[in-house]
């Protein structure tokens, strides 16, 4: 397949996945709110930093209120990480690649684009927001499902999976970061008299990834920070766990030509992830570790781009 098309379809897939993940990230906070006692609020500005859009936020994130953050994360076209930007870019890339996908795929993306354009303004109110975010998640799931059900597992499909899993690994690490970044007032995390609330945060993190049941079946023990972090980073079976995403990447990469260098980089990232000791990190340095994981994920993207997307390709002998 054409290098240019491969690049476009990879980004189309990343941006669609980003739509779903942005919705999930916002859901962590929104769901958390419902479980907290009266008078306790969550830090909204943290969401902006974690989404990676901090440079584009024009206000001080420490004092940002819910409304401003929601407008920024949902509907701000100047924020490349907002929901509206993600769906717009996904649609642009899909317009360029629609001839390699089943034709219904473009219709799905186009439909979601118009849905968001017409409804995003309502997403600053909590009730409406919930409906909106659930709709985004289910429509992206429909998109992913239709690709799985109707698209040949050819090179284009490999690039779609590549984009999806890279984006998903990145965003899972960011969502874990919400838990690690003291989004709750300190008293509610440290004070044992507030025990019922101590792990609410981590349950919200799991729920926002639709992973609560899967976690309970797998871990058995009650929800606690260390197990949740290990599960979301190192579990090979849960589809949104970082290790699972990297495993999917390895599978896609193995199907593509000239893959040596990409496989090498990928193996090194997975080795580091497997050997990370979260019993130590959970108390000290988790946030820095997560930053580091994100940098590793970015390095995978770079080697993917250098291998398959750059216009200068060697003459086949």
């Amino acid at each position: 397949m054409l290098s240019r098309v491969a690049e476009r379809i990879y980004w189309m897939s990343r941006y669609m996945e980003r739509c779903e993940n942005a919705a999930r990230l916002i859901n962590v906070n929104t769901k958390l709110l419902l479980d907290l006692p009266r008078g306790v609020s969550v830090g909204w500005g943290t969401l902006v930093d974690i989404s990676g859009g901090g440079d584009f936020f024009q206000k001080d994130t420490d004092n940002a209120d819910e409304r401003a953050v929601m407008r920024f994360m949902l509907a701000d076209t100047n924020n490349p990480c907002s929901l509206i930007s993600a769906i717009t870019y996904a649609r642009e890339n899909a317009r360029i690649t629609r001839e390699v996908m089943p034709s219904e795929i473009y219709e799905l993306i186009n439909d979601l684009y118009w849905y968001l354009k017409e409804n995003l303004a309502r997403g600053t109110a909590r009730r409406e927001r919930h409906i909106l975010l659930e709709a985004v998640i289910s429509r992206v799931q429909q998109f992913t499902g239709m690709l799985a059900g109707c698209m040949s597992q050819n090179d284009a499909y490999s690039f779609i999976r590549l984009g999806r899993n890279l984006e998903r690994a990145d965003m899972t690490s960011r969502i874990v970061d919400v838990g690690a970044s003291r989004i709750l007032p300190r008293a509610y995390e440290d004070n044992s008299s507030n025990e019922p609330y101590a792990n609410i945060l981590w349950m919200s993190v799991l729920r926002s990834l639709s992973g609560y049941q899967m976690y309970r079946q797998h871990v058995l023990d009650r929800v606690n920070a260390e197990d949740v972090v290990m599960y979301l980073f190192q579990d090979p079976l849960f589809p949104r766990a970082v290790e699972h995403c990297l495993g999917e990447l390895a599978d896609c990469v193995a199907r593509l030509p000239n893959n040596d260098e990409v496989l090498r980089v990928l193996a090194s990232v997975r080795r580091q992830l497997k050997t990370a000791d979260f019993t130590v990190l959970i108390d000290d340095g988790l946030h820095d570790y997560i930053d580091n994981v994100q940098a590793e994920i970015a390095s995978i993207h770079q080697v993917v781009a250098a291998t398959w997307f750059l216009p200068e390709v060697q003459v086949a002998s």
């Binding site: 397949m1 317009r95 001839e99 219709e107 216009p311 060697q314 086949a316």
Partner: protein, 482 residues
């Protein structure tokens, strides 16, 4: 609104659907009855679902404007335009005959130039043609065919006959809208397709692929065919993408292609892969910066060399536009006689050549009655519609004609036929034309019907989508009991 055919009157114009108020033509009788049976709510609902389908299917085209490029939804009217199959068979023959003659002409022009030596075509017309490419002289493409895809514009005058208004031989567009119009109509009027015998249009992408595959330099069952697009900002990008998708071939931009040792390759994730046939949707002058416009970033350096050596096929061939010239057009009836020894099946619109002194004087004296067209513009740009122009505009045009007579021709204002569209209170007549698409390679074929373009503004004759035209689905209907 509800449709009442008794109140629908196209006046002096030939109407496609009815012969006189209240009396639909035989072939349209069933459709007219059905439409009149719909309530106002039914019609509003069908209209809305058509708009939704168009939006969801992403059928769009780009309008270049001062406020930036706007991607607009395709303007569509839900009433189909109907043509009787008997009439269509005759028209189809005429179109095939015409394209065959045009291809004989192009091939002759780039090789022996017999038609000039035999004085059927004045030599100076050729010398001044801006679409004649000296670089192509001596080239002999497969089957002697240069224009593989032709979109001819047909109009119907008051007498009810089809006339050829022009032949688009460079990069004619619109066929994807023809195909999508049918899909939309099937979605909103499925019941009509059960009771009518309507010729399908879906074969076109297969026929196009077969036409292209047949001209491959390598004799493969499935040669590598690509569609070459200028990119997403081109007004017809939707169509380029659509055709690539329907044919199952790669849609490439110039930067995806590279020429090595006079062979064309595309850049793929596995390295360079050979290309056999290029269906190009880029004008000649942008194809190859080494041979034509050196500033072109849309083209492929070295492409022309590869083509001239016969290592890649290009459709339409570079230089084919020499016959897509409104002055050359006036000679098509002579070409048909000269090359095929036949009488033209489809007439031209009567035309006056400004290069001829006698005809030019007639044009200049009758500017208020004529339509004057530049030889080499498309999309309806740069023409003068005499009866609707101001005195000042006519004077300006007269000066231009005197300065460069070769570049102009004139035709009487044809009273384009009308067809009903959904209006505010009733169906309303609007002027239309028809663009069928003709293919020629190893064999020839014509689309069943074509793209009907509608001037959506009341009284307007301008049907071009870039200037506010819309369209309707076009039905070639088999009449029962014949």
């Amino acid at each position: 609104m509800q449709i009442d055919w008794r109140d629908y009157d196209s006046g002096e114009f030939y109407d496609e659907l009815i012969s006189s108020p209240g009396h639909p033509r035989k072939v349209s009788r069933q459709l007219a009855k059905y439409l009149a049976s719909l309530t106002g709510d039914d019609i509003a609902e069908r209209k809305l679902s058509a708009e939704l389908a168009i939006k969801t299917m992403g059928i769009s085209f780009t309008v270049y404007s001062e406020a930036g490029n706007i991607d607009r939804a395709w303007p569509f009217d839900i009433i189909p335009r109907v043509i009787a199959q008997r009439e269509w068979l005759h028209t189809e023959k005429g179109l095939i005959q015409r394209l065959q003659a045009l291809n004989c002409f192009i091939n002759d022009i780039y090789n022996d130039q017999k038609i000039v030596r035999d004085k059927v075509l004045p030599a100076e017309l050729l010398a001044d043609s801006v679409n004649f490419r000296p670089e192509c002289v001596g080239m002999k493409p497969a089957f002697g065919v240069w224009a593989h895809i032709c979109g001819s514009d047909l109009i119907r005058d008051k007498d009810g006959r089809f006339y050829v208004l022009e032949d688009n031989l460079r990069v004619p567009s619109g066929v994807s809208y023809m195909l999508e119009n049918r899909k939309v109509t099937k979605r909103i009027f499925p019941e009509l397709f059960e009771n009518h015998n309507i010729l399908p249009v879906t074969e076109y992408p297969n026929q196009l692929f077969d036409t292209l595959a047949a001209i491959s330099p390598r004799p493969l069952e499935f040669p590598e065919v690509v569609v070459l697009t200028p990119g997403i900002y081109n007004s017809a990008y939707f169509e380029h993408s659509y055709l690539a998708q329907q044919m199952g071939v790669e849609l490439v931009e110039g930067s995806d292609l590279v020429v090595e040792d006079d062979h064309v390759f595309m850049r793929t994730i596995g390295g360079l892969a050979p290309v056999d046939v290029i269906y190009r949707r880029i004008d000649d002058l942008f194809l190859d910066p080494q041979m034509f416009n050196p500033d072109s970033v849309l083209g492929v350096p070295g492409l022309m060399r590869a083509w001239l050596k016969g290592n890649v096929a290009i459709a339409n061939a570079p230089g084919a536009g020499v016959a897509d010239d409104k002055v050359i057009y006036t000679f098509v009836p002579q070409m048909i006689k000269y090359y095929l020894g036949e009488d033209p099946i489809l007439p031209n619109v009567p035309s006056y050549l400004c290069i001829d002194k006698k005809q030019r004087d007639h044009v200049l004296a009758n500017l208020d009655k004529l339509v004057v067209k530049p030889a080499n513009e498309s999309g309806g740009y740069g023409m003068l519609i005499g009866p609707q122009a101001s005195k000042k505009e006519r004077e300006e045009f007269a000066a231009r004609i005197k300065a460069a007579p070769r570049n102009y021709m004139a035709q009487p204002l044809i009273s384009l036929s009308t067809t009903p569209i959904i209006g505010t209170k009733n169906a309303e007549p609007r002027h239309i034309d028809l663009r069928p698409f003709v293919l020629q390679g190893r064999t020839s074929s014509v689309t069943a019907g074509g793209l009907t373009r509608v001037a959506m503004r009341k009284g307007s004759y301008v049907v071009n989508s870039s200037q506010g035209g819309g369209s309707q689905d076009t039905w070639v209907v088999v009449e029962e009991g014949k």
